[in-house]
C-alpha cells in the first residue's frame, strides 16, 4: 500500500526553478531517502510535503487525502505529518516531557501521556523527561525531536538532514537509534540527506535528486550496482569512469576487456568501475600491469592508487593484511560486469581515479 504520493510537483522562486517535476511514491511502513547535493531542492520538496510551502503545480497525496494540488490545500497543522528539523527545533522554553506531548490533545498533555513509552522507543532514559533542551547533547536532542514527531502517531514522518549537525561518533549511534525507533513504530518516513552512506544504509528506497529533478529512484543496491548514469554512479559511491569502446557486450578500456550490461549499444561508451572490483592477482594469471603510487591504510581495509602504463591512475580497495609496497609493479583484474553508458547520454564525465567524496 502506498502511504505518500508526490506527482509532477514543480516549484520556482522568482526565476529559479527549484523543482522541475518530481514523482515519488513511498510504500507504507518504509523509509525512503532523498539523496542529493545541497541546493538540489530536496529540502524544498520535504517542506511541501509538510505543508510549509505550496507547490506551483502537481499533487501531493497522503493516505487517501490530496493535501496539495487539484484545488486542494491542507495546512500543515491538519496534515498529520511528523517533522524532524535539521537541528531538532526543540522548544527551548519547555522541558523534554512537554516537548514530546506538545502535539497531543490538552487532556493527554496534562497526564504526561506516553512520555516514558516514547523515550524508550527512541532509546533514551526516562529520567531525561524533566530536563531542559539545552541540557541535552545534540544526539539526545534529535531523538527527543523524533519522539515528539512520533507522539501524535503521524501518517508520515519527515526528517530533514537530522544527523548532519552531529559529530561522527554520535551520528552513527543516533542514526541507528532513529532507524530502529521508526521501524518499531511502523512509521512511513522520508529522510532528506546529502550523505550517500546514510541514505544507502538506512533506507529501503533511495531517490537521487539533481538540480530539481529525480535522477534515479530504486533500492540501495540497484542504485549502487546499476546506476542510471555515470554521475549517479559517482555520487552514490567511489567510482572510476573510463572511456571505452563497446562491442557485443564487451567494453575495451585501459583495464582490459570487461563484460558490460547486455543492453548497451555498440560504440564509444563510458564504463564505471568500483574500486572494490579491482583486484590484485598473481602476475602469471595475466591482467593489466600497473605500479603502486600510494597506499592508504584505514584499519578495517585499505586503498591503493595505481599508475597504469598509459599514465592514468586507478584506485583499488584491499584487505589491510596484504598491502603492496609503494613503487612495486602489480597485476590487476576487474571482477564482475561493469555498467556502461553510450557516450551521448553521459552526464558529467569524471576524471579517472577521482578521490572518493566520502570514505566509509
Amino acid at each position: 500500500m502506498t502511504e505518500l504520493t508526490v506527482q509532477a510537483v514543480t516549484k520556482a522562486y522568482g526565476t529559479v526553478d527549484v523543482l522541475r517535476g518530481i514523482d515519488v511514491s513511498v510504500p507504507s511502513g518504509t523509509l525512503t531517502a532523498i539523496l542529493g547535493p545541497s541546493g538540489c531542492g530536496k529540502t524544498t520538496l520535504l517542506r511541501m510535503i509538510a505543508g510549509f510551502d505550496r507547490p506551483d503545480t502537481g499533487e501531493i497525496v497522503i493516505g487517501e487525502n490530496t493535501v496539495a494540488g487539484g484545488g486542494q490545500w491542507v495546512p500543515p497543522d491538519r496534515r498529520g505529518v511528523g517533522y524532524v528539523a535539521q537541528e531538532g527545533a526543540l522548544f527551548p522554553h519547555l522541558d523534554v516531557a512537554a516537548n514530546i506531548t506538545f502535539g497531543l490533545p490538552r487532556v493527554e498533555r496534562r497526564a504526561g501521556h506516553r512520555v516514558a513509552e516514547l523515550l524508550e522507543l527512541v532509546g533514551l532514559d526516562a529520567g531525561l523527561a524533566r530536563r531542559q533542551p539545552h541540557e541535552l547533547s545534540g544526539g539526545q536532542q534529535q531523538r527527543v525531536a523524533l519522539a515528539r514527531a512520533l507522539a501524535p502517531r503521524p501518517a508520515v514522518v519527515l526528517l530533514d538532514e537530522p544527523f548532519s549537525s552531529l559529530d561522527a561518533g554520535l551520528r552513527d549511534e543516533t542514526r541507528r537509534a532513529v532507524a530502529e525507533a521508526l521501524a518499531a513504530a511502523g512509521s512511513t518516513a522520508i529522510l532528506v540527506t546529502h550523505d550517500q552512506a546514510e541514505a544507502l544504509s538506512l533506507a529501503s528506497q533511495v531517490a537521487v535528486m539533481r538540480s530539481g529533478r529525480l535522477a534515479q529512484i530504486g533500492s540501495p543496491s540497484q542504485l549502487y550496482h546499476t546506476p542510471a548514469d555515470a554521475a549517479v554512479a559517482s555520487f552514490v559511491g567511489e567510482a572510476m569512469v573510463l572511456p571505452s569502446s563497446v562491442r557485443d557486450g564487451v567494453a575495451t578500456c585501459a583495464l582490459g576487456e570487461l563484460p558490460v550490461n547486455p543492453d548497451c549499444a555498440d560504440g564509444a561508451a563510458q564504463v564505471v568501475i568500483r574500486p572494490e572490483q579491482v583486484q590484485l592477482v598473481e602476475p602469471h594469471l595475466g591482467g593489466i600491469r600497473a605500479t603502486v603510487a600510494e597506499v592508504r591504510f584505514y584499519g578495517h581495509d585499505a586503498a591503493a592508487t595505481l599508475t597504469l602504463a598509459n599514465g592514468g591512475q586507478i584506485t583499488t580497495r584491499l584487505t589491510s593484511t596484504e598491502l603492496p609496497a609503494v613503487g612495486n609493479p602489480v597485476t590487476v583484474r576487474v571482477r564482475g560486469t561493469v555498467p556502461a553508458y553510450p557516450q551521448s547520454t553521459v552526464g558529467a564525465a569524471e576524471p579517472v581515479g577521482i578521490e572518493p567524496s566520502a570514505v566509509g
Binding site: 522562486y13 522568482g14 517542506r47 509538510a50 505543508g51 510549509f52 510551502d53 495546512p75 500543515p76 497543522d77 491538519r78 496534515r79 498529520g80 505529518v81 511528523g82 517533522y83 528539523a85 535539521q86 537541528e87 527545533a89 522548544f91 527551548p92 522554553h93 506538545f102 502535539g103 531542559q132 533542551p133 539545552h134 525531536a145 515528539r148 514527531a149 507522539a151 501524535p152 519527515l158
Partner: protein
C-alpha cells in the same frame, strides 16, 4: 512611497507570505524616528547660506565647539584608561572580591549623570569648570567602556593565548600581540558610546557650569523660544553626533568578536598580584568611592538635612506617580513600535527592512534637547493641538529610546526562529496556537527586558521632559532639577532618592528577564 513599495514587492518575492501591513507600519515608525533629523536638515537648508554663516561663525559658537570637543576627547580617553584598567584587574588578576567589584563598577550607570554632578557640586563648588566636568562625567560614564571590555576579556578563548605562548611569546608579548588587538573593538565601541552620551549630556554639565552645545541650545531656547539660533546650534551638534554614529557603525561592521555565544570553555590564567594586591584593591575601592560613594553619600546627607526642615509628601507623591506613569506609557508605546520593525528585520531580512531598522537607531545619537526642540517647533507650526500634551512627550521618549527597545526585541525574536513555528505547525497547532504556545512564551522575557530598559530611561530622563512636559506636569527629574537649580539641595535630594528607588525594582526585573532568556 512608490519606490519602497516596489522594493517590498521585489524583495518579498523571495520570502514567504511577505507581511505588507507590517512593512508599511515599520516604515511609518522609521519616518517618525527620523523626524528630528529631517527637521534639523530642512531648517538648516531653509535658513539660507548667509544667515547660517552669521549664526554659526560667532565667537560664542567657537567657544562651545572648543568646550564640547575638548571635554569629549579628554573624557573619552580617560574612560578608556579607567574602564580597561578596571576590567583587566577584575577579569585577569587575582584581585580579591572580583564578583562584588564587577557589580560595583557597573553600578554607576544606574545613577543618572546629573544626580552624580549634584552629589559633587552640592559638596564643593570647586568641581565647576573644565577639570571638574571631566572628572565627574568620567565617573558617570566609564562603565560604558568597562562592561564591553570586561565581557570580551571574559569570553576570550584562552587557547589563543596558549597558542601564542607555544609559538614562543612571553606573557607580556602575548598580551600586547594577541589580547590587546582583540580588545580594540570593545574599547573603541565603548569610547564611541561615551562620546555620544557626552554630546547629549545636558543636566550634569549645566550643574557643573561648563557650557557646551547642549547647555548653549537650552539657553538660546529659553531666550528666543525656538528661534533660529538654537536650531542652528542643534544642527552643528547633530553633525558631531552623526560623525560619531558613522564611526560606530563602521566599527561594528568591521570587527567581529572571534568567539561568540557561551564564552570560553575554560577561564584564562590570572596574573598573581602578590604584593601589589593592596595597591590594586585601593584603586578599585577608590574608584568606587568616587563614582558611587560620593553621589549616594551626598544624597543621604542632604536627605537628612532636608527632612529636618519640610518634607513635601504631596508633591513628592504626585511627581513619583507622574514619573512612573510616563515611564510605563513610554515603555509600552516604544515596545509596541519596536515589535513590527524588529519582526521585519529578523524574519524578513532585505535591503528595505535593513534601512527601516537602521533608521530607528538614529535616536541613539540624537541628544534629547535636539529631539525636544524639533518636536516643539514642528508641533507649534503644524500640530498645534498636540503641543504641550503628554502625547508629544511620549512621542519624544519613543524617538529617543526606540534603539534600546529594538536591541532587546530583536534578540527576543531571534529566540523564536521560524523552524519552531514549523515544528509546532506539523504537530497540529494552528497559527494562533503557535503564537500562544511557542512564540509569546519565548519572546516575552525579551520584550519585558526592553520595556524595563525604556522605563528606566524615561524615569531618569531630564532634558526632553523639561522642554516638552505640559505646564503643571512635574516629574521626579524636573522637580529635582528646579530645586537643585535654585541651590535648594535639601529639597532636591528626596526627588533624586525616589528616582533611584523606583529604578531599583526595574533593574531587578531586568536581571530576572535577562536570566530567563536561556541560550539554545
Amino acid at each position: 512611497m512608490t519606490a519602497s513599495a516596489v522594493a517590498i514587492r521585489r524583495w518579498g518575492a523571495r520570502a514567504r507570505a511577505y507581511p505588507t501591513g507590517v512593512a508599511a507600519f515599520s516604515l511609518l515608525v522609521a519616518l517618525l524616528a527620523l523626524v528630528p533629523l529631517f527637521f534639523v536638515a530642512w531648517f538648516s537648508a531653509s535658513v539660507g547660506f548667509d544667515e547660517a554663516r552669521r549664526l554659526i561663525f560667532r565667537p560664542r559658537v567657537g567657544e562651545l565647539l572648543r568646550n564640547t570637543v575638548t571635554l569629549t576627547v579628554a573624557t573619552t580617553l580617560l574612560c578608556a584608561v579607567v574602564g580597561t584598567g578596571a576590567a583587566w584587574l577584575v577579569e585577569r588578576t587575582s584581585l580579591p572580591g572580583r564578583r562584588l567589584w564587577h557589580v560595583l563598577l557597573a553600578a554607576p550607570l544606574a545613577v543618572p549623570a546629573f544626580v552624580n554632578s549634584f552629589g559633587w557640586v552640592s559638596l564643593t563648588a570647586s568641581v565647576q569648570g573644565y577639570a571638574g566636568a571631566v572628572l565627574v562625567v568620567t565617573l558617570s560614564y566609564f562603565p560604558l567602556v568597562y562592561l564591553p571590555v570586561a565581557a570580551t576579556l571574559h569570553g576570550l578563548d584562552p587557547a589563543l593565548e596558549e597558542s601564542a605562548q607555544a609559538l614562543g611569546h612571553g606573557p607580556v608579548r602575548t598580551f600586547a600581540r594577541v589580547v590587546v588587538p582583540q580588545l580594540r573593538p570593545a574599547m573603541l565601541g565603548g569610547m564611541l558610546l561615551v562620546g555620544l552620551h557626552l554630546l547629549a549630556e545636558f543636566g550634569a554639565l549645566q550643574m557643573l557650569r561648563f557650557p557646551t552645545f547642549t547647555t548653549g541650545i537650552y539657553e538660546q531656547y529659553q531666550a528666543t523660544f525656538g528661534g533660529p539660533a538654537a536650531t542652528m546650534l542643534a544642527s552643528v551638534l547633530v553633525l558631531l553626533c552623526l560623525l560619531l554614529l558613522l564611526a560606530e557603525l563602521w566599527m561594528r561592521g568591521r570587527h567581529r568578536y572571534a568567539r561568540l555565544g557561551s564564552g570560553a570553555a575554560r577561564p584564562a590564567a590570572r596574573v598573581q598580584l602578590g604584593r601589589y594586591t593592596p595597591l590594586a584593591l585601593g584603586s578599585v575601592a577608590g574608584l568606587t568611592a568616587l563614582a558611587l560613594g560620593v553621589p549616594l553619600g551626598s544624597l543621604l546627607y542632604w536627605l537628612a538635612i532636608g527632612s529636618s526642615t519640610t518634607f513635601p509628601l504631596g508633591e513628592l507623591a504626585t511627581a513619583a506617580l507622574t514619573s512612573v506613569g510616563l515611564g510605563a506609557a513610554g515603555a509600552v508605546v516604544t515596545t509596541l513600535l519596536a515589535i513590527p520593525v524588529a519582526w521585519l528585520a529578523v524574519r524578513h531580512r532585505s535591503r528595505f527592512s535593513t534601512v527601516v531598522e537602521r533608521s530607528t537607531y538614529f535616536g541613539h545619537a540624537l541628544p534629547g534637547i535636539v529631539v525636544a526642540l524639533a518636536l516643539v517647533t514642528i508641533s507649534i507650526r503644524y500640530a498645534q493641538p498636540i503641543y504641550q500634551t503628554t502625547t508629544l512627550l511620549i512621542v519624544a521618549y519613543a524617538v529617543l529610546f526606540l534603539p534600546l527597545s529594538m536591541v532587546s526585541v530583536q534578540s527576543a525574536l531571534v529566540q523564536a526562529p521560524p523552524s519552531l513555528d514549523d515544528a509546532a505547525r506539523s504537530l497540529g497547532t494552528g497559527r494562533l496556537g503557535v503564537l500562544r504556545r511557542v512564540t509569546l512564551p519565548l519572546v516575552a522575557p525579551g520584550l519585558g527586558a526592553g520595556a524595563a530598559l525604556v522605563f528606566l530611561a524615561v524615569v531618569t530622563e531630564l532634558t526632553a521632559t523639561l522642554l516638552l512636559a505640559p505646564i503643571g506636569t512635574t516629574t521626579l527629574a524636573t522637580q529635582f532639577w528646579s530645586n537643585s537649580d535654585s541651590i535648594a539641595y535639601g529639597a532636591a535630594a528626596p526627588y533624586a532618592a525616589l528616582m533611584v528607588g523606583i529604578s531599583i525594582p526595574a533593574s531587578y526585573l531586568l536581571t530576572r528577564f535577562s536570566k530567563k532568556v536561556t541560550p539554545r
